[in-house]
Symmetry: C2
Subunit: 69 residues, 2 copies
């Protein structure tokens, strides 16, 4: 993927939004454990749950290939 630490990235944005893990979980409609897992870079989480968290935090996801670049 990237060299970006997605878990830390998300945690930072959650903090800046003034949210606790539980609040973020509720807003995203998922469990607190899943938020915790995501911030710990557990990659076996479901994609839709990750997307829900990103949406709450206003983080966009982009896909780039050498072709489209």
């Amino acid at each position: 993927m990237n060299d970006l630490d997605l878990g830390v990235f998300i945690k930072d944005h959650r903090k800046k939004a003034g949210l606790t893990q539980l609040q973020l979980a509720d807003l995203a409609g998922i469990g607190k454990t899943t938020v915790f897992d995501i911030e710990k870079n557990k990659e076996t989480v479901r994609f839709n749950n990750l997307l829900a968290v990103l949406q709450v935090l206003n983080i966009k996801i982009e896909f780039k290939s050498p072709l489209t670049k």
Copy 2:
């Protein structure tokens, strides 16, 4: 997310790589059903499985927020 149709995007890249769904599945180390699901935009797939497919197809994933922009 985006207006990008990720399933079609992945399918296109698979075709350009000259791979069948089964070949892509084997290369990514996942089942053919999951590749099929991903190309059908089933968002409940596991993030790691999606990443495995993207890696085989040389597609990078990026996360952007209004802050980091």
